[in-house]
Amino acid sequence: MAGEDRETQTKGLKLLGILDVQNTPCAREAILHGAGGSVAAGLLYFLATSRVKRSYDVGFAGFMVTTLGSWFYCRMNNAKLRVQQRLIQEGIKNKVAYEGTVMDPTRKGKAEAPSGPS
């Protein structure tokens, strides 16, 4: 059983030995966006000013900002999806439990129809 766990779980790449980018949701996207943002910011600054050292600093700042922005955006979306998933699960459970009973929210339409002989 332990062997099966090892095969199914991808061995994550740990940046700085701490951040497992493969197995942490949103981490891989955030780092990739950060890398792209860093290259773009540094390159643009260098093209504009021709200052090498400062371009590295701007590139690094771009990395931090882009990574943080992408991370929070992805995490917020994931959190919203999780809330929706829980609501849907609760709704399915309640539908199964309450169907046909007085607590069934879809029952009102049927109750209004006349049941006696015409």
Binding site: M1, L15, I18, T24, A27, F60, M64
Partner: protein
């Protein structure tokens, strides 16, 4: 259970543990970015050719390195406090189980409806069957219904113990003469392992905890069988 040389958390089996995992990822990303920043500053300081012997102060950078850590701490504290209060929410448990720590085994009591109690001893290595886990298996598991809020009352009969199941996000000290309460919901069926987490003598490492979450109908069958055997 954990796989060999595992450093990170186990997969979550309860909503609280899921939230803890998400918070951990959030805090770890912040830690990673701070570490990267510090590393970059170190490299920049070591490789610079600039020197200025006449700098006395700099108000701008002082403001930045005062405000920025405060903002970072707030970004970490807000989700942390949210989880802290989430863990203490009143959840109207469907079942109460008492877990008593002894030297060196756990005993569980289900006294809500009938008087069901049993001891849970570790299975020795030489008695394991193929596929069982060394130092983690027990003869009688604590069986709980899945997707039901469970209240666990933890105490001890002799010395300090601690009842911990990492995948459920639960750890509570077992103190003699004191009743500690914790609650959890097993979101999915499965077998969840834990170990005593407070040093309690020679066999402290050999009194594991095993929680088995099953559908309610199976839990009812199991409790009937246990009562018949008792």
């Amino acid at each position: 259970m954990a796989h060999p040389s595992q450093l990170g958390f186990q997969d979550a089996a309860s909503p609280v543990m899921e939230e803890l995992l998400h918070f951990h990822d959030h805090a770890l990303m912040i830690v990673f970015l701070i570490s990267t920043f510090v590393l970059y500053i170190i490299v920049a300081m070591v490789t610079t050719n600039l020197t200025n012997k006449f700098i006395l102060d700099s108000q701008e950078i002082e403001i930045i390195w005062t405000l920025l850590p405060a903002v970072i701490l707030i970004l970490i504290a807000l989700p942390s406090l949210r989880i802290l209060y989430l863990m203490d929410e009143i959840n109207n448990p469907h079942l109460t189980i008492k877990a008593m720590g002894h030297q060196w085994y756990w005993s569980y009591e289900y006294t809500d409806y009938e008087d069901l109690g049993f001891d849970s001893y570790m299975i020795f290595t030489q008695d394991l069957t193929p596929g069982q886990f060394r130092l983690l298996e027990v003869d009688h598991r604590m069986v709980v219904p899945m997707e039901s809020p469970i209240r666990a009352l933890i105490s001890a009969e002799d010395v300090l113990h601690s009842w911990a199941v990492p995948s459920l996000g639960v750890k509570m000290d077992a103190v003699p003469g004191r009743l500690n309460q914790t609650a959890f919901i097993a979101s999915r069926p499965g077998i969840f392992y834990g170990q005593c987490s407070e040093i309690c003598g020679a066999n402290h490492s050999f009194m594991p905890i095993v929680v088995e979450a099953v559908p309610l109908v199976h839990f009812e069958n199991w409790s009937s069988l246990m009562l018949e055997d008792a």
